[in-house]
């Protein structure tokens, strides 16, 4: 062994040999891993603490499935629905991956609510954990933002109308409402720009924010330490700690396993449907949001006119402020639920209200015969669409032919001449060009019709060398051909 290598070994205190030792001396991987695993948990590992890592797992799964879905997805009003239909109906495992992503979004909300509830009920936001709680609140909003923006992307009836309602709700805000709505939609109406905006938010902006906030959430968590059971002092834990590894990690992994099995079974046995493509002129369609937005949806129904400011802005803002400012409002170090009657009642009240509103919305839909009938019809349309095989979208090149015929009868006659005189043989269909002759697309922009006529009557030396014949045409036929050639775009 060279002296250099000996020095290297001497410099390292680590006795590990082989690849692991080599890596470790360069990265300090072992101490990083130890640092991550040897997180002390006051009072020991518990099932109540598993939701945070459950969320991390779902987030990871959403990233992976999302990246793969983007292999086929195209964010434009023209193609979004076709590409999602292609993923769902044609691509191997496409329906399964889309199902994982779609159900994953719902699972994210469920586990997020559980994580939030555990933190709240255990008083785990107390004791210098204001920023930790705050970053969690922002993450909650970001996850709801992911759900909202992702819902539009398939561009089916359901997605289109739910988002139309969702963005309309924003316009209920006083003063800035209309501007916010226009900003979200990229215009007054929903269209291809709306998809672009939602796509960019869903794929770049919000995920970037989530990455940053998850990092700070974890950092703040490790800085202040695990809060432990609600009998623990939030500032100076006294109960015997247990390391995160191995028992807590096993509990966390059991939730992960449950999520994998649950999401896998749902995606496999209950494929997420795709409805017919969005039809903005459908006046009958009754939009309904995904279950996690139902309480808000129902809530907004109760507020109209001047009072809507209270319902849409004042109450939600106050509630959001109260939640965010919770660690500042509740300064006591008491964590046992039975000693926190106000906090517990508030939690029960909010949860019951959300549940009640959601159920009320479902109840109303079921007991209004007209709505129930329309919803059933929409559902059957979705089933009917899903049972049809995938139909590829007709490319714009195919449609161009029909458009010319409609636009200008002279050009349409010219097209017939172009084809009957075998111009397509070298210049290609629609003048797209071939190895034998250049494309004629855009010729109309470069030359006037007189110039084109002149070139056709007296081809240049270069044209002749390339095998361009002089077409024998009557003046009328020539006019038609030139009109067609000039129209090629």
């Amino acid at each position: 062994m060279s002296p250099l290598h000996e020095n290297e070994n001497d410099a390292s205190q680590d006795a590990a040999t082989g690849i692991r030792g080599w890596l470790n001396r360069r990265t300090g991987l072992d101490s990083l891993l130890r640092g991550a695993l040897d997180e002390p948990i006051p009072g020991g590992a518990r099932l109540a603490y598993i939701f945070g890592s459950g969320l991390l797992f779902i987030f990871l799964s959403q990233i992976i499935t999302g990246v793969f879905l983007a292999l086929y997805y195209v964010p434009s009003a023209d193609h979004a629905h076709t590409t999602v239909a292609y993923i769902t109906k044609s691509v191997t495992a496409g329906s399964f991956l889309r199902g994982l992503h779609s159900y994953g979004a719902s699972a994210m909300i469920v586990v997020l609510l559980l994580h939030l509830s555990q933190t709240y009920l255990y008083g785990a936001y107390k004791g210098r954990r204001e920023l930790l709680w705050f970053s969690g609140c922002v993450l909650f909003v970001l996850v709801l933002g992911m759900a909202f923006t992702g819902y539009l992307l398939p561009w089916d009836q359901k997605a289109y109308f739910a988002t139309a309602v969702g963005t309309n709700a924003a316009s209920e805000m006083p003063l800035v409402g209309e501007s916010v709505k226009r900003l979200m939609r990229g215009g007054t109406d929903m269209g291809t720009l709306t998809i672009s905006r939602f796509f960019v938010a869903h794929v770049f902006l919000i995920p970037a924010c989530i990455f940053a906030l998850v990092a700070s959430h974890l950092f703040l968590f490790r800085k202040v330490g695990a809060a432990g059971p609600f009998t623990e002092d939030p500032l100076e834990p006294k109960q015997k700690p247990e390391f995160f590894y191995p028992r807590q990690i096993l509990m966390d992994l059991s939730l992960t396993a449950l999520l994998i099995i649950g999401l896998g079974c749902l995606a496999f046995f209950m494929p997420v449907p795709l409805g017919p493509p969005a039809n903005p002129s459908d006046a009958q369609y009754i939009p309904r949001p995904e279950w996690y937005y139902l309480p808000i949806f129902q809530w907004l129904k109760y507020w109209h006119g001047v009072a809507s400011v209270i319902g849409v802005l004042v109450i939600p803002t106050l509630l959001a402020l109260a939640i965010v400012a919770l660690p500042f409002l509740d300064r006591s170090v008491e964590r046992r639920p039975w000693k926190r009657p106000v906090a517990m009642s508030a939690y029960l009240f909010v949860m019951c209200a959300l549940l009640g509103l959601g159920l009320r919305s479902k109840y109303l839909d079921r007991h209004d015969p007209e709505i129930a009938q329309q919803l059933a019809k929409q559902n059957s349309e979705e089933v009917a669409y899903m049972s049809k095989p995938f139909e590829p979208e007709l490319s714009s090149a195919s449609l161009a032919a029909a458009n010319v015929a409609l636009a200008d009868p002279l050009a349409a006659k010219g097209k017939a001449i172009f084809e009957s005189h075998y111009c397509t043989a070298c210049h290609g269909e629609e003048g797209v060009g071939s190895a034998a002759a250049p494309a004629l697309i855009g010729v109309g922009a470069k030359f006037s019709t007189d110039q084109i006529t002149e070139l056709l009557r007296h081809p240049t030396a270069k044209m002749k060398a390339g095998g361009m014949p002089t077409p024998e045409l009557s003046p009328d036929e020539m006019k038609a051909l030139v009109a067609y050639v000039a129209s090629l775009k």
Partner: protein
């Protein structure tokens, strides 16, 4: 109950103080087991992802469907080649392009039905049928072909290209393809 007191009901079964040396061997054995387990589950989950990503490679995503030329009875008593415009549908992933191509339906040496591509195998011009001379004659560089598409004269290196045909419900179907020009043997491209 005083805050910070040990709640006896929830004491973990394996308790150790952070100061105590932990069972390194047991820990690393469990760690290996977990790593292996995660690896297996990860590999299992990667299967649909890989199949999803490889879909275009394992399945034909660009395909040319057979296009109908006409009914067989129409071509039962051909005296000379007749031109037909067929619509070809080319599928490219989730989209398709429909274009029109001219083909000739003619009879071969044994009286069998042939469908010829109208593209000249010399340089790709469209070859018209010249009824008076009973021959195909290319306007570009003068290649001449017999009614069954066989090469008679000119700069071309082979006869006109026959296309793959099939019959279905009394209909003549043809699969349109492009062939390499300027070579003696028929060779599919694109």
């Amino acid at each position: 109950m005083k805050i910070g007191a040990d709640d006896a009901g929830n004491t973990p079964r394996w308790k150790f103080s952070t100061a105590q040396p932990f069972d390194e061997q047991r820990r690393s054995f469990l760690g290996t087991l977990l790593a292996l387990g995660s690896l297996c589950v990860g590999a299992l989950l990667a299967v649909p992802l890989i199949r999803f990503a490889l879909f275009p490679l394992l399945r034909r995503t660009t395909e040319l469907k057979a296009s109908p030329v006409g009914s067989l009875t129409e071509f039962s008593s051909l005296s000379e080649p007749i031109e037909r415009t067929i619509q070809i549908e080319q599928v490219d992933g989730w989209r398709k392009a429909v274009s029109e191509k001219a083909v000739y339906v003619t009879k071969g040496a044994q009286g069998q039905l042939l469908v010829l591509s109208s593209i000249c195998p010399h340089l790709g011009c469209t070859v018209p049928w010249v009824s008076e001379k009973r021959e195909f004659s290319c306007p570009c560089h003068g290649a001449v072909y017999a009614p069954d598409g066989a090469r008679i004269s000119g700069p071309c290196l082979r006869g006109m290209d026959t296309l793959e045909t099939s019959e279905q419900d009394g209909q003549l179907l043809v699969r349109f393809q492009y062939f390499r020009q300027l070579v003696a043997d028929k060779e599919v491209i694109g």
